[in-house]
Point group: C2
Chain length 195, copies 2
């Protein structure tokens, strides 16, 4: 079992409605050993994909993304969440992302100057559930005419449709941990095989 | 001259009103070589300060903070910006921070469970200008009864009062780059000596 899966079993909090809270090592406090394990894993899997840039979305994607980018020795770029009113439309690629956990839709944007058609982009995020954030990042890459070289996820909720949506779009997805089921009543987590 | 100072001269954009924009390697796109240089520098300076935790504030502090935390092999914690309405008051240490660039005041919070009186906290941020964000983080550490072991800043605007406020509070501040002056008209930047 990976170090991250082990941490989830040891420290993850299972809240009502099958919500998994892993604030103590991934989402607010961040364990450097988890980060180092993930950067090694993602590098091993994506090293021959010609990665030229790592892209994530603020805020909790930033830590794994910069660690992975440092390992690949390529720049990391993070998409910002903004209200539509603050947009300078011509300077940014922008798309809309719906957050189910926060029940809100927000604009996500990156400066046009940091994505170019030559880029082979590795998208990194902490969680993959419905896949809206990841698909939003895929859209930003497409707007730039760049290529998504892969999607690296720390924790995938395999019982939600994100993975299938990304794979249906032809993307190569690697998840460090795949959660098959969360049972709030029994306080159990089960993992899916593979990555 | 440090790698970061060099990047500022090469790629920094000087906007009207002496605003320095360094989005291409520190604030939106992040250069891994800048991060590696900073983590080495901060480690060299703070290695005997008994650091047990690195604290920053979302979003652009997260990348340098996790790189530094990984070097020290201690957890990194980031304070979240939130509107007062979303607060669960008893679970968080909270304080108010005024942003001059965005002309707004927001709540900053960290879960109480991740800061304890035994912690020796290294505060990291990308910029130090008026010092409001850093002083907010200092306040969160004080609320927890923990100790601020030092403040590590990527880019200090030495012509603004942040440094003096932190030092007056008895804090050990190290800045990778100290900017003495920005001249929008002449498009020049000058650096202050020391760190």
């Amino acid at each position: 079992m990976s170090y991250l899966a082990d941490k989830i079993l040891q420290e993850g909090l299972i809240l009502p409605n099958n919500v998994l809270k892993i604030d103590s090592f991934l989402n607010q406090q961040i364990d450097p050993t988890v980060m180092k394990a993930i950067e090694e894993e993602f590098y091993a899997y994506f090293q021959n994909h010609g990665i030229s840039k790592v892209l994530t979305i603020e805020a909790s994607g930033i830590a794994p993304a910069i660690m992975v980018a440092a390992h690949f020795d390529v720049p990391m770029l993070f998409a910002k969440k903004a209200l539509p009113s603050t947009l300078q439309k011509d300077a940014y690629y922008q798309t809309q992302v719906h957050s189910y956990t926060k029940n809100t839709t927000y604009q996500v944007l990156v400066s046009k100057q940091y994505l170019s058609p030559a880029d082979q982009v590795l998208i990194i995020d902490d969680f993959l559930a419905n896949g809206d954030a990841a698909m939003g990042l895929v859209d930003l890459v497409a707007q730039a005419g760049a290529t998504v070289a892969g999607v690296g996820i720390c924790v995938e909720k395999s019982f939600q449709p994100g993975r299938e949506r990304l794979e249906r779009a032809g993307l190569d997805v690697y998840a460090s941990v795949r959660i098959a089921a969360i049972d709030s009543e029994r306080q159990t987590i089960s993992f899916a095989p593979g990555h």
